[in-house]
Amino acid sequence: MNEMLFFAFRNKKLRIGLSIVLFFVFLGIFGPMISKYKDPLEYVGTGYQPPSKEFWLGTTTFGQDVFTQLVYGIRSSFLVGLVGGGLATLIGLIIGFFAGYEGGWVDELLMMITNILLVIPTLALLIIIAAYLPYRGIFVESIIIGFTAWPWTARAVRSQTLSLRVREFVNLARISGRSHFKIILYEIMPNMFSYVFMVFILQFGGAILAAVGLDFIGLGPTRGISIGLMMQNAVLWNAIQLGMWWWAIPPGLVITLIVGALYFMNTGLDEVFNPRLREM
């Protein structure tokens, strides 16, 4: 464990990625406190204003403060990542572990379902579900994302489990009469901890991106603000054509930095956990 931490702190990719992500986490937590305006949708000044001392990132066509919207949007993005990504990881783990460990018809059935869902694009499923929900909050959106994003995780976890279950310590546990559930929980899972952690990071980023896409095409939360909604409004009200870069570009830049940093962190972690990938 200490050795892991040593390599973790020495790894440049992990350090850079983690600091960017942490920066935005703090911005999401404390941003709404330092911004001058409390309500992201409130009219606070004339519209079309470029960034200034009064409005750090300018104002929208409707005179809303872009910075205030952005920090609230970051908050909801992290919420979606945590809930949606967490749920997707959890479902993927459960299905992957059982399919891989039990084998036989359980495996066949679970993998058939997984393969079917794997082919159907997540966004298409999200659209057909979200379009018929009259009221959607950010939490509901995250749950829908979680329930549709798990298939690739299930498949990856299953193949890892397949290779672990024939190891001797698992056989020993089986001979000692432990229940399948306990073997999965105490023998197999601890050996995949690093892998699970990395899967979660990828799902976290994936959920954030999925939410942005969903919000953008008009299936986002019906109340409140999110980064996808900001971009939808910016495009709908011709912010690009009018040259309002402060409204059109920063929201996507934030998402790009967060998700890119998450992926970067993931590679760093891979090198920490997997000595063969470390650079000499």
């Binding site: 794997l118 082919v119 997540t122 379009a131 397949l162 095409i217 790009t256």
Partner: protein
């Protein structure tokens, strides 16, 4: 080989049945009554409201038992009857989608194929080459983290508004009608280049990273080490590594299709490009449920066809599958 194909086709048929069932089921499961919502939109026009209502009750057959409704849905589906668009009333959904499809494919196919080829070569070139790798890798990670629509906005802002090089809305100028002439083709290409680039660039990042990691993995493996000790030239070893590393990338292509299509939808919206994605967004904004469901079916069919193509390509590339089939693919 036959077993491999049979398994795949079985999964695809089941997927298709599942998708159509979802398409039928969700409107019936969800709270609120979409039909009443639809009819209420025509409340100002009692004549059309009546027509719509009778059409809807007939289409959904709501007075019939559930199993019969499901059965009728399939029959209508095979007759090509996807309902009538409310937002573009009285155009049938199928016609709306048919005219949008070429524009979507014209963006999707070139961007997928080109980014896959370029990305793989870039990634293979960067693997275990320190200088190139340390410059390229961070860039690629942020590119692949970018939402497609944001890259679209960025390109539209710089090339359309600041430098004014390319138009940023539509698939061709309003003054032109689609026909075969140099004028139209050059106009089409001018409108095409920015949405194409935003799809191309985001996909590029993912392929380059994947290929880099795969090639490093192959270069670490025993056969590469053995060739090295024999004194074989680096170039040849890399060639072998590339060939082995390309297979997972082909599988990756099938897995990525969903994300790419999602990106396509949002990119089309940014550029008001009249493809399936743009139609879908209009349908959502106008609560045109038939059109939404039609788009869903079209996307599913497209993904299934693409997946099947990828499987065939994989079979062509991997001799192990051609000769036999066993174990996990």
């Amino acid at each position: 080989m036959k077993k491999y194909l049979r398994m795949k086709i079985l999964v695809y048929i089941l997927t298709f049945i599942f998708a159509v069932t979802i398409d039928w089921l969700i409107p019936r499961l969800m709270p609120g009554n979409p039909i009443l919502v639809l009819v209420s939109r025509f409340s100002g026009l009692p004549e059309s409201a009546k027509v719509i209502y009778s059409y809807l009750t007939k289409a959904f057959g709501l007075d019939e038992p559930m199993w019969k409704q499901y059965f009728n849905f399939w029959i209508a589906f095979f007759k090509g009857d996807l309902g009538i668009s409310i937002y573009l009333y009285p155009k049938p959904v199928l016609d709306v989608l048919k005219s949008a499809l070429p524009f979507s494919l014209g963006l999707l196919l070139p961007s997928i194929i080109l980014s896959w080829i370029v990305g793989n070569n870039l990634g293979a070139a960067a693997a275990r080459r320190k200088k190139l790798d340390s410059v390229m890798l961070p860039i690629m990670y942020f590119i692949t983290g970018a939402p497609y629509l944001w890259l679209g906005i960025l390109l539209a802002y710089y090339f359309g508004v600041v430098f004014r090089i390319f138009p940023i809305a539509g698939a061709y100028s309003f003054s032109l009608k689609p026909h075969l002439s140099w004028l139209f083709i050059s106009d089409y290409l001018k409108h095409w280049i920015l949405p194409f680039l935003s799809l191309f660039i985001v996909q590029l990042g993912g392929w380059a990273i994947g290929m880099r990691n795969m090639v490093i993995y192959e270069l670490e493996s025993n056969y590469s080490r053995y060739l090295e000790t024999l004194g074989v030239k680096q170039k040849l070893i890399r060639k072998y590594a590339f060939r082995n590393a390309i297979l997972p990338q082909v599988t990756g292509l099938a897995l990525q299709l969903g994300t790419i299509i999602a990106g396509q939808v949002t990119t089309e919206v940014v550029f008001s490009y009249p493809g399936i994605g743009y139609v879908l967004t209009q349908a959502i904004l106008n609560q045109d449920y038939f059109l939404i469901q039609g788009c869903f079916i079209f996307i599913i069919i497209g993904v299934l066809v693409a997946n099947f193509t990828v499987d065939l390509v994989y079979m062509l590339l991997d001799p192990r599958i051609r000769y036999s089939y066993g174990g996990e693919i």
